[in-house]
């Protein structure tokens, strides 16, 4: 794979700064907490240079298992802030100088750090707590003093006299169980604090005790609007590790399915955005048409939301006999319908004014936060994995990467509407040319991955979805990390919404388009 650089903890911050400033590794693709047992706890950073597309992997570890301390890099990449909180939550790695070192997913009264290999899973350590979590308005910050010792400081998030309202976890506009605590001044948002983890299921931990084919079943349940793509990423990663080449037919089918899934997701995005903005009728139009894709999915895969289609070395079953024809009919149907969407919603002066100039994300911020997908492309960052690291048959088809420069909600919305058209174009080029061949390769009954670490990514419906596997040669993964598409998106919510109105928060949340199960995993 790529070069792996081992950097000792003491030099980490300086070396990372050098990588960022001198070699222009400005995109932190993924940050993975690791437990290497006797070697200690550590972090793996996947970096990319957005100018040249060059990739590198950096590793660091701290041998101190009791109190591992690693300097934070969130002053270099903003994306690190939430990811380091996740690593702190799961591994207890204390990131010094991190401004906001709280648990990200688990409750504050959780005992232990569950992804550590020595974690005590018994029910006595963490009984089912039926009481509410006390809201804490302060956060920890570990400051390194001059003599090298570390002290913990408490910092205030919300003052007592602030008018704080909860948006979520049960709220019509959060698209799932995500919670924002919002400090308001009239209608204007002063501060926003994201609380994740309301549907954290510990999928990464579960994967460590499942065989590789079994882990596949869980990926559909991450971003349920990117089920095909997620599973594609995991299958690709395993196939890459095993050195398996899937047949051309499978590549075609996977690519078509990915694109149908993208259209499905973007139609749902359109619908939900309309609903968030109060245009309930357009919401129903979107769902009416999404139903047609789901029918196509159901016919071939047997599932509508959870499809279980990609398998290691192929796909579950061959495409249904009427698949090609149905897809063509759908393409012919959707084009005029898209125009109708634009008439009823996009062109509407109310919608336009509610979206234009609202929640602007600059290109620098998008890269720094790692906000890929439509959000990044709306800010002018060409971050499409299909173009950066082509997989499937994306190198054989012609399509445009939709780019805007405004970075506001309207651009984010338009990127996705235009992407539906591009996806239709991709499918049109492929649908008639699906080559004959095996749909499933013969695999060994027990699948083992050679020792090593592997990363592969696909362009999910809402950004780069990556899978990182570290294997010790067993039939179980030693560590499996999913690079969530949504986590960078919620981490930039604070930047986007500050100074906006509360109605804008809903519009921004709608256009940023996160899916909560994917954030919480």
């Amino acid at each position: 794979m790529n070069e792996i650089i081992d950097i000792p903890v003491e030099q980490l911050h300086a070396e990372m700064k050098k990588l960022h400033d001198e070699r222009h590794f400005d995109f932190l693709r993924s940050l993975t907490g690791m437990d290497w047992q006797e070697e200690g706890l550590g972090v793996v950073y996947h970096l990319e240079n957005t100018l040249t597309g060059e990739n590198t992997v950096v590793r660091t570890h701290s041998a101190n298992r009791e109190n591992p301390e690693i300097p934070t890099v969130c002053d270099i990449w903003k994306a690190a802030e939430f990811n380091e909180r996740e690593a702190f939550d799961f591994y207890g790695i204390r990131f010094t100088n991190h401004p906001d070192l709280r648990r990200l997913y688990l409750r504050d009264d959780w005992v232990g750090h569950p992804l550590r290999k020595d974690y005590d899973m018994s029910e006595e350590t963490n009984p089912l707590r039926m009481t509410n979590e006390e809201p804490v308005d302060t956060t920890a910050r570990l400051e390194v003093l001059r003599d090298g010792s570390v002290i913990e400081k408490r910092e205030v998030i919300f003052e007592d006299n602030e008018y704080i309202i909860n948006i979520g976890p049960q709220h019509p506009a959060t698209h799932g169980v995500l919670r924002f605590r919002v400090s308001l001044e009239g209608e204007i948002i002063q501060k926003l604090d994201v609380h994740c983890g309301y549907i954290h299921r510990g999928i990464e931990k579960m994967c460590e005790s499942l065989t590789y084919p079994q882990t596949l079943a869980l990926t559909d349940r991450l971003d349920y609007l990117g089920a095909h793509q997620n599973r594609h990423a995991l299958c690709m990663c395993i196939e890459k590790a095993m050195g398996v080449e899937v047949s051309e037919r499978v590549q075609y089918i996977r690519t078509i399915m990915d694109e149908l899934q993208r259209i499905d997701s973007h139609l749902l995005f359109f619908s939900c955005l309309c609903m968030d903005l109060g245009a309930l009728t357009a919401f129903f139009y979107g769902f009416r048409d999404r139903e047609k894709i789901l029918d196509i999915f159901e016919e071939t895969t047997g599932g509508r939301l959870i499809q279980n289609y990609n398998t290691i070395g192929g796909v579950q079953t061959d495409i249904a006999p009427s698949f090609v024809q149905k897809v063509k009919e759908f393409i012919a149907y959707l084009r005029p319908t898209l125009r109708e969407y634009h008439e009823v919603f996009t062109g509407n002066i109310i919608a336009e004014q509610r979206l234009k100039g609202v929640g602007v994300l600059s290109r620098e911020d998008a890269i720094s936060f790692g906000a890929t997908g439509g959000t990044g492309r709306a800010a002018g960052w060409a971050c499409d994995v299909r173009k950066r690291h082509p997989y499937g048959v994306y190198d054989k088809v012609e399509f445009n990467e939709v780019l805007f420069t405004e970075g506001d909600s309207y651009a984010r919305y338009m990127v996705r509407m235009k992407e539906i058209e591009e996806s239709l174009r991709i499918i049109e080029q492929l649908i008639d040319n699906i080559p004959e061949g095996e749909y499933q390769q013969k695999m060994k009954p027990i699948i083992r991955i050679p020792e090593g670490s592997y990363y592969s990514a696909v362009e999910g419906s809402r950004g780069e979805f990556g899978v990182f596997i570290e294997s010790k040669g067993d039939k179980y993964p030693y560590r499996m990390k999913f690079r969530s598409t949504g986590l960078p998106l919620v981490s930039c919510m604070e930047t986007l919404t500050r100074g906006a109105k509360i109605a804008d928060l809903i519009a921004i949340g709608g256009t940023v388009d996160y899916v909560v199960p994917d954030i919480d995993r």
């Binding site: 309930l280 009728t281 509407n348």
Partner: protein, 358 residues
């Protein structure tokens, strides 16, 4: 045209024939009160059913279909459910105001409802400043909404109530201006008089351009006045869950809900009365045969047909547009509707002075 005052006068005479006048008037008041309440309830049920069917049709759905043929009994079932639900009072709420608020809203609604002239001789409240009274009565409702938001001890409710305060007070201005435009044309404030003056043509046609502009302004502002989409910010369900009535349950919520729908009808009813001639049939000067044929259709049919047509129009607005943001709402009012309304009023004055109307 059938005059209902014949019947009402006959009842009145029958009553005073065996009881003192004072008692007779009292009995009549009670009877009329009951009639109004009944009609109010029936209209609310019709409106709710209509809303659900119309909105479903716009959204390529069928709407309620399960309870009764075509779902006709659905709303009755809902009302029954609402009636037997527990009325919850939450902790730390201002209990007195919290329980009072829905009644203020419904009171304002019923008061303005009784001003509507349904047929010739079927006017309950009809005096020389009728339309003025109606505007005053309907704006009491906002007090109820503000109280509901304030007393609920809920931050969403409070934001919702504040929004509705800002919105309704602003839009009352436009409503007043557009009605004033017609008042200039009629030189009366009495609702029955206004209808009578439209015997030779509805004001929408008589007043042509300014009347039409006033009509459009009235529809927009009226929609905003009853907090319906695209102006439903006070209860914006995707932002504030349910706005000012988040914490209400059972019939207290039911009262807000019913009032919202009947208010919509009232807005449509006023529009029908002052722009489309109320119960007055369609008369085209010069075509006497046609006019006579139109007269055979009873007045209340005309009134309800016109009112429900406008209701349908408002539902069409609601189910097409996304919700406005608070600053857009205020921009629309203060930068567009109010100045246009003022210019329009001036235009109407010029037209009336130079007798340019039909």
């Amino acid at each position: 045209m059938f005059d209902f005052s014949i019947i009402t006068n006959w009842i009145h005479e029958q009553l005073i024939s065996f009881m003192p006048t004072g008692l007779a008037v009292f009995v009549e008041c009670v009877a009329i009160g009951i009639c109004i309440m009944l009609m109010y309830a029936v209209l609310a049920i019709i409106m709710i059913f209509m809303e659900r069917k119309v909105c479903a049709a716009f959204q390529c759905r069928l709407g309620p279909m399960r309870v009764g043929p075509y779902g006709t009994i659905q709303v009755f079932a809902d009302v029954f459910k609402m009636l037997i639900k527990e009325i919850i009072t939450i902790n730390h709420a201002d209990k007195f105001l919290y329980n009072l608020a829905p009644y203020i809203v419904i009171l304002a609604s019923i008061m303005s409802f009784s001003c509507l002239p349904i047929n010739k001789g079927l006017e309950v409240l009809d005096f020389n400043v009728g339309i003025f009274f109606m505007l005053a009565a309907s704006s009491i409702g906002i007090v109820g909404i503000l109280l509901a938001g304030w007393s609920s001890n809920n931050k969403y409710s409070l934001i919702g109530a504040m929004r509705s305060g800002a919105q309704m007070i602003s839009y009352e201005l436009s409503i007043g201006l557009s009605i004033l435009t017609i008042v200039v044309l009629t030189d009366t404030l009495q609702l029955s008089e206004i209808v009578e003056r439209q015997a030779d043509g509805w004001f929408l046609f008589k007043g042509h351009i300014p009347a039409f502009i006033a009509f459009v302004i009235y529809l927009i502002a009226g929609n905003a006045e009853v907090n319906r989409g695209p102006f439903d910010l006070p209860e914006a369900e995707s932002e504030l869950t349910a706005g000012y009535h988040t914490e209400y349950s059972g019939m207290h919520f039911g009262l807000f809900y019913v009032a919202e729908f009947v208010n919509l009808f009232i807005i449509a009813g006023i529009a029908a009365t002052i722009f489309l001639g109320g119960w007055m049939p369609l008369h085209i000067p010069g075509l006497d045969g046609f006019n006579q044929a139109m007269d055979y259709i009873p007045g209340f049919v005309w009134f309800f047909a016109k009112a429900f047509f406008i209701v349908w129009l408002l539902m069409w607005f609601k189910w097409t547009f996304p919700r406005l943001r608070i600053d857009q709402i205020l921009t629309l009012e203060w930068k567009y509707l109010v100045p246009i309304g003022l210019v329009n009023l001036l235009l109407m004055v010029i037209i009336v002075v130079f007798k340019l109307h039909f």
